[in-house]
Symmetry: C2
Subunit: 211 residues, 2 copies
DNA sequence: CCGGAAATGAACCAACGGGTTCAAGTTATT
DNA sequence: AATAACTTGAACCCGTTGGTTCATTTCCGG
């Protein structure tokens, strides 16, 4: 999120470049994206790109990590609904539905795809992106689930493990319905996938009351 | 699996080329893999490659689809254990453990990664690979689960939906434990992930006896 | 409004790699 | 043995693209 390098050039150009880079990389893939296109998309001249970032590789790294941080914010926000009081079951369905929507969004999907698809070239990025998004979401969700256990809405269990299971169900449902992302998934359907996941999750983890 | 084009050149060379191509693509990624390397890996001269396949793109397509068909065979084999008689719960754990091992294997992981990572260049391949592996496995598993429902080992449910849930749990567990595949997963751990998935699955779907 | 940093565009370089060609050697088939 | 198909290796062509240079213009802080 923060890296304290002495920035060169105007900051707004830099962020425009990184955002454009991510879009172009996502659309064409790393190798097929040429710096020229990225510069155009950013509304900037090619030398300007090289004034801000040393080379194409760092362009990829930085733009991807920035996207990961943006994704993290959105994922966290989706789970924030679980902090509000109210019926835990409906809150869970709502929050996870929202989470599924975010996970199915273009930006988040592209992020994961780009990291995975270029693992050969950027091995560190896979783990780093995973840490900043999936892993972070898992622990955040585990925290929320722990409270639900205490409140009796969920049966006694290990929150981390349960969070992993719930996220697996969501991811899996999204993958299956979109055929690995080859079919565009409308927001409503993504939300439905999330709610479906919650339903099964509650079958396994629900408290006595919700069974 | 079969495509009836009039084959040119010696058949053994062709299969060697496709196998080598898949290995090189998996190791370096599509764009970074050069035809020269593939020819070397196959123990063949470059023009020979172009004698069998028109260009690099078809080289990728064919090698990937061939790998998908190989994967399909292994996936089906893993589920075949469910046909044997015996305690359904242990059979399920064993079969899904084996399935997880196959899913975590280099070849199957690479296949998925290559298809997803080059979706921009080969959009059709994503759906096709998904159909030949994940989707096929899902329906095969659904068939097995249906029998388990009839035998009373599982509670009444829609087999397709249940199969999707079980596979989600397996995939998710593998992704989480390997950090999206960035950490190599030993076979034993993969198997454990599969068995863990079955455990939760049975919590949600187990018959009265297994609860 | 002034001065230095930053942005521009155009031209340029060099490496890389897909794809072809060709003459010579090898393998099957009849 | 003869013939046709296949393979080989090496050289070659050429488009693409990452990265640089530079003279000129634009922008922003003081």
């Amino acid at each position: 999120m923060i890296d304290g390098g002495a920035r060169r050039g105007r900051a707004d150009k830099r962020t425009a470049i990184l955002a454009a880079a991510f879009r172009v990389f996502a659309a064409r893939g790393y190798a097929q994206a040429c710096v020229r296109d990225i510069a155009d998309e950013a509304g900037v001249a090619k030398p300007t790109v090289y004034n801000h970032l040393t080379d194409k590789e760092s362009l990829f790294r930085e733009s991807l990590l920035a996207a990961a941080d943006r994704a993290r914010v959105r994922l966290d926000a989706a789970l924030d609904g679980l902090r509000a009081p109210g019926d835990p079951a409906v809150a869970l369905a709502r929050a996870v539905g929202e989470l599924a929507e975010v996970l199915a969004s273009d930006e988040v999907r592209s992020l994961r795809l780009l990291a995975l698809g270029n693992a050969a070239l950027f091995p560190e990025l896979v783990g780093e992106a995973h840490r900043r998004t999936s892993a972070a979401t898992a622990t955040a969700l585990a925290d929320r689930l722990a409270r639900l256990v205490l409140s009796g809405a969920l049966r006694r269990c290990e929150p981390d493990r349960a969070a992993g299971h719930l996220l697996s169900l969501v991811d899996g449902a999204l993958d299956a319905r979109s055929a690995w992302g080859s079919r565009e998934l409308p927001a409503a359907e993504a939300r439905a996938a999330g709610e479906d996941a919650v339903e099964v999750f509650l079958l396994a983890y629900g408290g006595q009351a919700s069974e």
